[in-house]
C-alpha cells in the first residue's frame, strides 16, 4: 500500500511517501522552490518523492493531508467570538483568506492533485489531525514498540500539547496511538516561546533557534516574572497563559503593551544591537520552558507508565530542553522526530493512515536504529547527473575515488578549509546531518567567526554543532547515548575543557574564550548540540571522521547547514555550486567530485546572499 502525506498552506509544506509501512521518501518544498518555509502545495516535493520511489501518483492508494481545516476554522471563529469585539483587526485580516481559500481546502487540494493525476478520486483524499500527525511521526518512526508520546507546538486545530500512548507489534495490525490528555489553544508553550522570540527581535518560526542559542549568554533573571504573571503552572505540568500579556488571539502582534511594560521596555528592533537585556530575556524564557516541560514529562511518565518517550512538534526542536529531558532520567529512553515541525506532519499523516486508518501491519524488517534511515529521505544524485550539472554550471572539478575523496577532505579540513559537503540523499527536517552540510575544523578558534560572518552571513553569536564519531562520543561529550539528529545538547567532556580565562567577560566577548580543545563547537556554557555519525546510516561521513582523527587526533568536525542566511538548504548540485561560488567556502565535494575555489573561473563568483530576505 502506497500512502502520500502532505503538509501545506501553513508553513513548511512537505511530502512524504510511505510504502507498506516503510518510509520510502520525504522532502520539503522549500528545498526545490528555493523559498524558505514555502507553504504552497508541495508539487515539487511530491514529484521528488515519487521519482525516488520509482512510483507514480496513479499507484498511490491514499493522499493524507496533515490537519483538519474545518476544525481549525472552528477554533478561529470561537476565539473571535470569545474575544469580541477585540479581535476585529485580526478577524478582518483572516476572514478573506479563509472565505476565499482555506475553508475550501479540500477542493483546492483536489484541484492541485488533479493537475498531477486528472483521474484522482475524491475518496482517496483523507485528513489527519495536526497533533495526531505529529504524534504518529514520532511514534511510528521511532524504534519503540511501546512509548509515551508527547507533542508540543504552537497550535494546530485546537490542541497545543498532547500526551498519547503508542503501542504496536511487528507484523501485527493492532497498532494504537491513543491520546490521553491534551491542552488547547490559546494555552501553548510554542506560542509563549514565539512571543519572546518576537520580543527579542527575531522572526517567529525561524528565530526560535536563535533565542535558544542566545540564552547561555544571559541569566534567567526574569524567570520569576514569567511565572508570577505570564503562566500559571500546575503540579501536573498543565498551564494557563495570562492573556492580558499576549495579543495573538485578537491582534496582529504576539505580545501586548503590558508584556513590554513587564519586561522593562519596548521590544528589540530586528537586526538592532543585541544587549545583555535581550540575552537575559532569552535565558529566562528558556529556563521557564525547561521547567514546564520537565513537569509535563514527569506527569507523562506517571500517567502512561511507559518507559520510553517520543517527542514531536516544533517545541521538540529545542535541543537544550531535550538534553535536559534525557538527563532527568524520567524516561529510560527518548526519541525525537528529526522533522519535528510541520514538515514532519506530512510523514505523520501518512504513517497514521497506514497504521490507524487502514490498519495495515508494522513491517517485519525493523532497522537497527529506527525507521527514519538517518532522516536521509530526500533526493540523491548519481555521479553522471552531478557531472552534467557541474558541466552546465561551468565548474572545474577533479573526479576522485571514494578513499581519495575522504583523504583529501580530511587533509583540507585540517589545513583550515571550510568545505561544502553534498553527498547522497538529502535530509528531511530542518537540520543538515552531513549530506547537505558545510564542514570545518572544530579545533580552530577562527572557525566560528569565519563560518558565521564570511560563509553563512549570519549573527556572530550563533554556535555551531559538532558531528562526532558515535563510537567516540563519550570521550568528547558527557552524552551517553546516540544523537543522530542533532537534537540533544550536552556538555563537552571535562577532559576536553580548558581553564576558562574570561569568566566575567561581557556578552559576546565570552565567545572569544578558548573553552575546550574543540572551541568551534563549544558554546559559552561549555555545551554542544551533538550529532553522532553512524556507519549504518551515513557510511561516508562515518569514514571521514576517523580519517580526520588520524591526522588531528580529533574524531569530530563542525557541521552546519549548506546555505547562507535566509536560504533553504541546498538541494541539487547546481544549488551547491551556486552557494559555493557565492561564499568564502574553500572547496566543495559533490559525490565523487572535488572542486577547489581557487581553480574556478573568476567570472562565476557571485554575491547572492543579499537576494534572500533575512530570517
Amino acid at each position: 500500500m502506497k500512502i502520500l502525506g502532505i503538509s501545506a498552506y501553513y508553513h513548511d509544506s512537505a511530502a512524504a511517501l510511505v510504502i507498506d509501512g516503510e518510509i520510502a521518501a520525504a522532502a520539503q518544498e522549500e528545498r526545490f522552490s528555493r523559498i524558505k518555509h514555502d507553504d504552497r502545495f508541495p508539487h515539487r516535493a511530491i514529484a521528488a518523492c515519487l521519482h525516488q520511489a520509482k512510483s507514480n501518483i496513479g499507484e498511490v492508494d491514499a493522499i493524507v493531508f496533515y490537519e483538519k481545516p474545518f476544525l481549525k476554522f472552528d477554533r478561529l471563529l470561537e476565539t473571535y467570538l470569545a474575544m469580541a469585539p477585540r479581535g476585529f483587526t485580526s478577524f478582518r485580516k483572516s476572514m478573506p483568506l479563509w472565505l476565499k481559500e482555506k475553508l475550501f481546502l479540500k477542493n483546492q487540494l483536489l484541484s492541485e492533485i488533479r493537475k498531477i493525476e486528472p483521474a484522482f478520486s475524491e475518496e482517496k483524499l483523507l485528513f489527519s489531525e495536526h497533533h495526531l500527525s505529529h504524534a504518529a511521526s514520532a511514534f511510528f518512526a521511532s524504534p519503540f514498540e511501546r512509548a509515551a508520546v508527547l507533542t508540543l507546538d504552537g497550535v494546530g486545530e485546537w490542541t497545543t500539547t498532547s500526551i498519547s500512548v503508542g503501542a504496536r507489534e511487528s507484523d501485527s495490525t493492532t497498532a494504537t496511538l491513543k491520546r490521553i490528555q491534551e491542552l488547547q489553544f490559546p494555552h501553548s508553550l510554542g506560542l509563549l516561546y514565539s512571543t519572546f522570540t518576537t520580543y527579542a527581535g527575531f522572526k517567529v518560526n525561524s528565530g526560535e533557534y536563535k533565542l535558544m542559542g542566545l540564552a547561555p549568554y544571559g541569566t534567567p533573571k526574569f524567570e520569576k516574572l514569567i511565572f508570577d504573571h505570564l503562566i500559571e503552572l500546575k503540579d501536573d505540568g498543565s498551564f494557563r497563559l495570562n492573556l492580558e500579556y499576549f495579543d495573538f488571539c485578537t491582534g496582529i502582534k504576539m505580545f501586548s503593551p503590558k508584556f513590554e511594560a513587564l519586561f522593562g521596555g519596548r521590544a528589540r528592533l530586528p537586526e538592532s544591537t543585541i544587549t545583555q537585556h535581550t540575552a537575559d530575556i532569552a535565558a529566562s524564557i528558556q529556563f521557564a520552558l525547561e521547567k514546564v516541560i520537565a513537569r509535563i514529562v514527569i506527569h507523562a511518565r506517571a500517567a502512561t507508565q511507559e518507559k520510553n518517550l517520543c517527542l514531536a512538534g516544533g517545541v521538540a526542536l529545542n535541543c537544550v530542553a531535550n538534553g535536559k529531558i534525557l538527563r532527568s532520567g524520567v524516561f529510560d529512553k527518548i526519541w525525537i522526530q528529526p522533522a519535528a515541525g510541520d514538515a514532519g506532519g506530512a510523514l505523520g499523516a501518512a504513517l497514521s493512515a497506514h497504521h490507524l486508518h487502514f490498519k495495515k501491519p508494522t513491517p517485519r524488517n525493523k532497522p537497527a536504529t529506527d525507521w527514519m534511515r538517518g532522516s536521509y529521505l530526500g533526493p540523491q544524485y548519481s555521479d553522471q547527473e552531478i557531472e552534467a550539472e557541474l558541466e552546465r554550471a561551468g565548474a572545474v572539478w577533479h573526479k576522485l575515488m571514494p578513499e581519495e575523496l575522504i583523504a583529501r577532505a580530511a587533509k583540507s579540513l585540517k589545513s583550515g578549509y571550510a568545505l561544502g559537503w553534498h553527498q547522497n540523499a538529502m535530509e528531511f527536517g530542518p537540520r543538515a546531518l552531513g549530506n547537505r552540510s558545510i564542514l570545518a575544523d572544530a579545533r580552530s578558534p577562527e572557525t566560528q567567526t569565519v563560518l558565521n560572518l564570511k560563509i553563512k552571513f549570519r549573527e556572530s553569536f550563533r554556535p555551531f554543532a559538532p558531528v562526532v564519531l558515535f563510537e567516540k562520543v563519550h570521550e568528547w561529550f558527557d552524552l551517553k547515548t546516540e544523537s543522530p539528529y542533532m537534537l540533544l545538547v550536552d556538555a563537552v567532556h571535562h577532559s576536553q575543557l580548558r581553564p576558562s580565562q574570561q569568566t566575567n567577560a561581557a556578552l559576546f566577548e565570552k565567545l572569544k574564550t578558548q573553552r575546550s580543545t574543540i572551541p568551534a563547537v563549544t558554546h559559552v556554557d561549555n555545551s554542544a548540540r551533538i550529532q553522532t555519525a553512524h556507519k549504518e546510516t551515513n557510511p561516508l561521513l562515518h569514514a571521514l571522521l576517523p580519517e580526520f582523527e588520524a591526522q588531528t587526533g580529533v574524531p569530530c568536525l563542525a557541521n552546519t547547514s549548506f546555505n547562507v542566511r535566509g536560504e533553504p538548504i541546498v538541494e541539487s548540485p547546481t544549488d551547491a555550486f551556486r552557494c559555493f561560488m557565492g561564499t568564502d567556502l574553500d572547496a566543495l565535494a559533490i559525490g565523487s567530485y572535488w572542486l577547489e575555489k581557487s581553480e574556478q573561473k573568476p567570472e562565476l563568483h557571485q554575491k547572492y546572499h543579499q537576494s534572500f530576505s533575512l530570517d
Partner: protein
C-alpha cells in the same frame, strides 16, 4: 453544495450546531471584507490561521 453538506456534517458531529447563527453573521461580515480587499498580515505574528 457538497462543501455545505460536509460542513454541516462536521458541525453536527462535533456538536457545534449552535455556531450556525453566528456563522451566518460572521461570514456575512467576512464576505463584505473580501469585497473591501484587506492587505496581507505582516510577519509579526505566529501564523494562527
Amino acid at each position: 453544495m457538497s462543501f455545505l453538506k460536509e460542513f454541516f456534517a462536521f458541525l453536527k458531529e462535533n456538536k457545534k450546531l449552535w455556531l450556525i447563527p453566528l456563522l451566518v453573521v460572521l461570514l456575512g461580515v467576512g464576505g463584505l471584507l473580501i469585497v473591501a480587499k484587506s492587505s496581507a498580515l505582516a510577519p509579526l505574528i505566529y501564523t494562527l490561521f
